[in-house]
């Protein structure tokens, strides 16, 4: 492969990361924020968001793309937290209780999500996205009308004045940062929430271990080619459902970690942006629809959130309006997702076209053969994944 071709391939693979680093670095000086402040923010946000983003990994391995349906898990986590506050269970016990309540709900929702996605193979992403909206309707119905009327709520302070339905904003005072504050390590002026990071590390170990198990291997086989996997005796549909269930459960736990750090819960729209931020983060970190690694998660959260920290202030300084910075960061977030999906689809088509050309027996056969291999390796043609 020629140097130029290598460069083009490298660029198309990491275009999103490169563009992102450039924008963020350019925005730091005009924002006027100190590096120390930005670093502390990144540490906090790594603890807050990494778990949620890690939840996206398994469905990617199983070839189901970016799991926009993870919002389902987030909603389950929120229901858990509402009950924890209702029963007045404080501190990390409250979080554990929330997780116990959220667990069965997220398993159930994950199972539904898996069933639905099995009926929409090849359209998993858009289906998951719409499913999240649909379940959002049911969540609203449950929280706004069922809680306090059909299901009695002991704590009247969290119920709307009309007698049923949960208030728009739920104060999570009792469990606020209870996980982060179990053990805070102060290094050189930075506060590091140790326990949160230990939990995130444990999840990383779990994912690495899981990939080596029989189920994990099956999942990757399904992700490579469903027909071949089916022929090899792997229960494709079941494996896909399991991947989604695990992802949903992780999203449930992730949302609880996220919210305990935030300290309050916007009952009816806290989950609106969960999928969007998580997906944007993993893509910014260099993942694609078919390939992702744990490194992508951490690079992505760091990059995305350093931009989120600096952009409103940079917008304020550069254009005299904080709103411009706010819109800009959303523009970039959506733009990154669009760009990654486009690059991915474009590469898939190119790999397929190269493969076709190779079969016809073009002039320089050697590169064509490698293209065929790449095409088979994983549609993106960038095989060799850690």
């Amino acid at each position: 492969m020629s140097a130029q071709k290598k460069f083009v391939k490298f660029f198309s693979q990491y275009a999103v990361v490169i563009i992102f680093v450039m924008i963020t670095v350019a925005a730091i000086p005009p924002s006027g924020l100190s590096i120390k402040y930005i670093l502390q923010e990144i540490i906090t946000r790594l603890g807050r968001n990494s778990f949620l983003v890690l939840a996206l990994l398994l469905p990617i391995y199983a070839g189901m793309g970016l799991n926009f349906g993870m919002t389902l898990g987030a909603m389950a986590g929120q229901v858990g937290l509402i009950f924890a506050v209702n029963f007045g269970i404080s501190n990390w016990h409250g979080l554990l209780f929330a997780l116990l309540v959220g667990l069965p709900i997220s398993v159930f929702l994950g199972w539904i999500c898996g069933l639905v996605m099995n009926r929409a193979k090849g359209r998993e992403m858009v289906t998951g996205y719409i499913l999240a909206f649909f379940i959002n309707g049911i969540y609203q119905f449950f929280v706004m009308y069922m809680l306090g009327s059909v299901i009695p709520m002991g704590n009247r302070a969290i119920v709307l004045s009309r007698g049923y339905g949960i208030r728009n904003t739920l104060n999570l005072e009792s469990v606020r940062q209870s996980l982060d504050n179990i053990l805070v390590l102060r290094v050189g002026g930075y506060a590091v929430p140790v326990v949160t990071f230990i939990i995130i590390a444990l999840l990383c170990i779990f994912i690495v271990w899981f990939k080596k198990t029989k189920l994990g291997q099956d999942m990757r086989a399904v992700g490579q080619d469903m027909v071949v996997a089916e022929a090899a005796g792997i229960p494709v549909e079941k494996t896909r459902i399991i991947a989604i269930i695990i992802s949903t459960v992780l999203a449930c736990a992730g949302q609880i970690i996220f919210l305990q750090n935030m300290g309050n819960l916007a009952t009816y729209n806290a989950h609106d942006q969960t999928g969007f931020f998580a997906v944007a983060a993993i893509l910014v970190g260099g993942a694609s629809v078919t390939h992702a690694s744990i490194a992508n998660v951490f690079i992505g959260v760091t990059l995305l959130h350093s931009m989120f920290v600096v952009s409103p202030l940079a917008g304020q300084k550069l254009f005299g309006s904080a709103m411009i910075g706010e819109y800009f960061r959303q523009f970039i977030g959506y733009g990154v997702i669009a760009l990654s999906l486009v690059l991915y689809a474009w590469r898939t088509r190119k790999a397929a076209a190269d493969a076709r050309l190779g079969l016809r027996g073009g002039t320089n056969g050697s590169t064509k053969v490698s293209a065929v291999k790449n095409g088979a390796n994983g549609a993106a043609g960038n095989g060799g994944q850690a």
Binding site: V126, L131, G137, Q140, M323, Y334, L341
Partner: protein, 347 residues
Amino acid sequence: MRNLKTFIEDFGWPRIIIFFFLIFLFIMAPFVRVRLDASISDVLNRFGQNAIMVLAMVPMIQSGCGLNFGLALGIVSGLLGATLSLQFQLHGILGFLGAIALAAPFALVLGWFYAKLLNKVKGEEMTIAMYVGFSFIMFMCIMWLILPYNNPTMVWGYAGKGLRTTITVEGYWLKILNNFLAIRIGQFFVFPTGLLLFVGLFAFLMWLFLRSKTGTAMTAVGSNPDFARASGVDVDKMRTISIIISTFLGAVGIIVYEQSFGFIQLYTAPSPMVFPAVAAILIGGASINKASMVNVLVGTILFQGLLTMTPSVINSLLQTDMSEVIRIIVSNGMILYALTRKIKVSK
């Protein structure tokens, strides 16, 4: 009996349930003191407001590009046209037609780029279209703030720049179509003749177009791209045409909506406009690769009827506002149903 069974299967249970639910709402209306004539008038009005945006779904579905989740591009073109027409102080019918004329070039250019993009990502159109739409809306949010508009009715009073989030079209072209030949019966019932005629005109043009040579070729591309290519149809060109038409109709649709609604809504307002249009055509019986004028007509009436009737009737019945929740569940449930349905091989 078998006929009935296949009919139900073709039409789909969700649509039948929605249909009977709507009938039920209309029957219940008088009992909870909701005026039937005012309700029907509302439904007609909202049908006219939204029908062209629903119509915009047809060409892309027919050419195999799927549901146009990127309709926002068309809507934003329409917003550009509408704001420019106000900026140039165009009044009355001239203002309305001017808005469409000014929106057209934006719609054509954006549609063309959008088509270029979608042709490169065949098979992944829907997800990508959605995010292209979202990011473009966000980009335009920045633009609305910094573009040099200066009509005092449109910009923020204290800063003198940056467009307002909602701009009234009163005094320009408010209800220009609605009031054209409108028939008023009694105190509550108005038949928006002009609006419905305008919608009818566009639906008729679309019907004609789908039967023209280009339209047939487009449908062929949607039904079987390989077959179409083999018979000498330029697949990419047909898709491009369908996407540009869809974007243009999105622009016209939002302008028609605004003249009836009375306000131009900017910034993030276009994003929640897309899903109802998608849901409506699906409720009307379209699938993600087949759509007709009947689907547009039936779907818009059913969906808008539901949106009009649930707040008034259900609220009076249950003494609580559940309309928002019902809207979310019905519209997304419908899209979900269409996405998960096995694509039928056309006979």
